[in-house]
């Protein structure tokens, strides 16, 4: 893929419509890199002028802040803000709810104020504007899909409808888990848990959540967060259901429906 970096674009004297903030999982995690590429292909197909930071991107500092290390968070954040402000970035989209939350809610206090969107919000917007054209009765017609709310999208930022409206645009048959929206159960990876073993307990949180997702009978578990992706995929593997049940990001589902 030939994805323009913000540095290249700026050198040409151009500015992007939006900056795609890839995030660490989107850059390094093999599974989530596929989501990054799927989302980038969608953006390309719409003709939207976007750029990435490429190797200039760094961690937002989010996991450090959640784990209590505010020094490290602020070191990272102030550096990132310098980069973003240096390029005059106005609008950002990211496929990571954790980056989304930090960029949107926590950077303004440190001098970085941007219009920040989660990729499901941008997908919803592009669909409703007709820039992504949905086929009638597409490949998801009648398919049972359940959606797992990411805490940092849902409760943290009240984004419940965007991912669901993308699913309904796909003509999928959305089956909700009992714990959904405001009472959605965490996948277990938030608050820095992604980077440590869980504390002692009866059960791992992702297993509890995967059981709930599997009980809906859906063959696809849709997620919108790299950590949820890891946790739910691990859960499905643990239940030895990876042959029949797929965990997919909403961007992947949209890309599939577009034949991208």
């Amino acid at each position: 893929m030939n994805i323009p970096t913000l540095a290249e674009m700026t050198a040409r004297g151009e500015a992007p419509e939006i900056l795609f903030w890839v995030g660490c999982a989107g850059s390094y995690d093999d599974r989530y890199k596929r989501v990054t590429r799927a989302f980038a292909r969608i953006l390309e197909s719409t003709g939207m002028k976007f750029a990435v930071l490429g190797t200039e991107e760094t961690c937002t500092g989010d996991p450090a802040r959640r784990a209590g290390n505010d020094f490290l968070f602020q070191m990272q954040a102030l550096n990132v803000i310098q980069t973003l402000n240096g390029y005059g970035v106005k609008k950002i989209v990211t496929a990571c709810p954790h980056c989304f939350n930090v960029l949107k809610n926590e950077y303004p206090e440190l001098g970085g104020t941007y219009e920040v969107m989660h990729h499901t919000q941008l997908l919803q917007q592009l669909i409703s504007e007709g820039r992504i054209k949905m086929k009638e009765g597409g490949s998801f017609k009648g398919q049972k899909i359940t959606y797992h709310d990411s805490c940092y999208l849902g409760r943290a930022n009240n984004v419940y409808e965007a991912p669901r409206s993308v699913l309904s645009a796909l003509d999928a048959d959305l089956v909700e888990m009992k714990r959904c929206r405001t009472t959605g159960l965490c996948c277990g990876a938030g608050g820095g848990q992604m980077f440590k073993e869980p504390e002692k307990g009866r059960k791992d949180i992702n297993i509890e959540r995967t059981e709930e997702a599997l009980s809906t009978g859906a063959k696809t578990i849709a997620v919108a967060c790299p950590f949820c992706m890891t946790m739910m995929s691990d859960g499905v593997k643990n239940k030895e259901k990876e042959g029949e049940v797929k965990v997919k990001d909403l961007a992947e589902l949209v890309a599939e429906s577009q034949g991208l």
Binding site: M1, T5, V22, C24, G26, S27, Y28, K33, R34, R37, V52, G54, T55, T58, C59, P63, A64, R65, R66, A67, G68, N69, D70, F71, L72, Q74, M75, L78, Q82, N101, K104, N105, E106, L110, C151, Y152, R155, A156, N157, T183, L185, C186, G188, A189, G190, G191, Q193, M194, F195, K196, E197, E199, K200, G201, R202, D204, I205, I207, E208, R209
Partner: protein
């Protein structure tokens, strides 16, 4: 006789007033152990929360059955307390049902309304006792619900039942006495309590007066005693919920509040403009004890009625980890209480060698939190246990460097590779070169 009763009433009222005032001052100074924080912004939204969440109990209705029963008790108590005004005036002036002649048939309507509400309260309290003790709703039986919290809850429900029964007894005997003594003004027929009148058939008017007076005194002393009791109890939420919803944080739930002291240090380290020379001691980073928390966190702890909705939604608790958001709030309150009692006796207060972190809340508990905000969302009075957990984590990470080893490596990775994992920064853009 009336004069003695008037004096006795005045003394009772004064004792209750004294005890409540003393305790209220103690609670206020306990809350003031927390750090100062000015909360005056966005008043419209704050009043909205008070009206919808505290007065309207909006968040309770996520669980409709207990919400409805709770609403019966809440509405009953709030409205029946109007009658207490009459009690107090009667008690002080030596009158009896002073409003009855003034209000006439409206008084009858009002009293009948109160009786139906009282019946609702009674019914709801009985169902709540059954839910707690016979059906054993799990959130009332988790680890932190030890003997006192369980007894506290059962006492509150029982006292409310007994108080309501006193109202009915009083009204029944009162109606029998009307016509016998001029002092007993006609109330008109009170539908519910008149059903109890046959119990007292054949009693002499004099013994009825004894029962009526006993029930009257029992009810008013009960209410005043209950008012004193709740200042020591989780039941304080009936007052503090209103304050807590006003002072509740309004930022998006995902936002963790910034630490300006850290910003200042980091800015001067990075040579950025805007750093101000440090003024005096920077103080502790994060929270080790309750005086490192803001006063509104401490107010929240007193507002908690231990309903356990937070804990019953906590993913860590649900899967058997030690963390319970309710316990965090109870621990904060217990620590405050302990310090307050010690200070009252001229003791060391918080300087007793104990700390909230370690002696009350353990690292294992705070390390289990996924910061998912389920507890925050669940709380009917807008308490935020997550804020407190983050403050404790900050102390552990920044003052003790005592975070779990894998978090310390994550910190190191961010510092050296600018990613939480050990991947070279140069590989960050490789995703674009790779295949589907």
């Amino acid at each position: 006789m009336h004069v003695i009763q008037q004096i006795a009433f005045f003394v009772t009222l004064a004792i209750a007033g004294y005890l409540i005032r003393k305790r209220a001052l103690r609670i206020i100074s306990n809350i003031r152990l927390g750090k100062a924080l000015a909360i005056y912004d966005r008043k419209d939204e704050r009043w909205r929360n008070v009206v919808l969440v505290a007065l309207g109990q909006k968040k309770m209705f996520k669980r409709p059955v207990p919400a409805l029963l709770h609403f019966l008790i809440y509405a009953g108590f709030l409205i029946i307390n109007l009658e207490v005004m009459e009690f107090i005036i009667d008690g002080l002036l030596g009158t009896h049902r002073i409003f009855a002649p003034w209000l006439g048939s409206f008084y009858t309507m009002l009293m009948n309304g109160f009786e139906f509400l009282a019946a609702g309260v009674l019914l709801a309290c009985v169902v709540f006792l059954i839910r707690r003790n016979l059906l054993r709703v799990p959130r009332f039986w988790s680890a932190e619900m030890a003997s006192w919290p369980r007894l506290d809850a059962n006492l509150i429900l029982t006292i409310e039942i007994v108080l309501m029964m006193a109202v009915f007894t009083m009204n029944a005997t009162d109606q029998l006495l009307q016509g016998h003594f001029e002092h007993y003004t006609s109330t008109g027929r009170l539908i519910l309590s008149s059903q109890l009148m046959p119990i007292f058939s054949g009693w002499t008017p004099d013994s009825l007066v004894v029962v009526e007076r006993f029930a009257w005194w029992f009810h008013i002393i009960g209410i005043l005693g209950f008012a004193v009791y709740i200042t020591w109890s989780k039941h304080l939420h009936i007052i503090l919920a209103f304050f807590n919803t006003w002072y509740a944080r309004l930022r998006p739930k995902g936002q963790i509040h910034n630490m300006p002291a850290v910003t200042n240090e980091v800015k001067s380290m990075l040579g950025l403009s805007g750093a101000q020379p440090a003024s005096g001691e920077p103080g502790r980073f994060g929270a080790k004890d309750i005086n490192d928390l803001s006063w509104n966190h401490l107010l929240a702890a007193y507002s908690c009625t231990e309903c356990g909705r937070c804990t019953s939604e906590c993913p860590a608790n649900l899967t058997g980890k030690k963390l319970s958001p309710r316990k965090v709030m109870m621990d904060v309150r217990d620590r405050m209480e302990q310090a307050g009692v010690s200070l009252e006796k001229g003791g060391p207060g918080l300087n007793d060698g104990k700390f909230l972190l370690g002696d009350y809340v353990t690292k294992e508990e705070i390390n289990a939190c996924t910061s998912c905000n389920a507890c925050v969302e669940a709380c009917p009075v807008m308490i935020n246990p997550l804020d407190i957990i983050i403050e404790l984590r900050r102390y552990v990470a920044m003052e003790e460097s005592g975070s779990p080893a894998s978090w310390n490596s994550m910190f190191q990775n961010i510092e050296t590779n600018f990613a939480p994992w050990k991947f070279p920064a140069a590989d960050r853009f490789n995703w674009a070169k790779e295949d589907k």
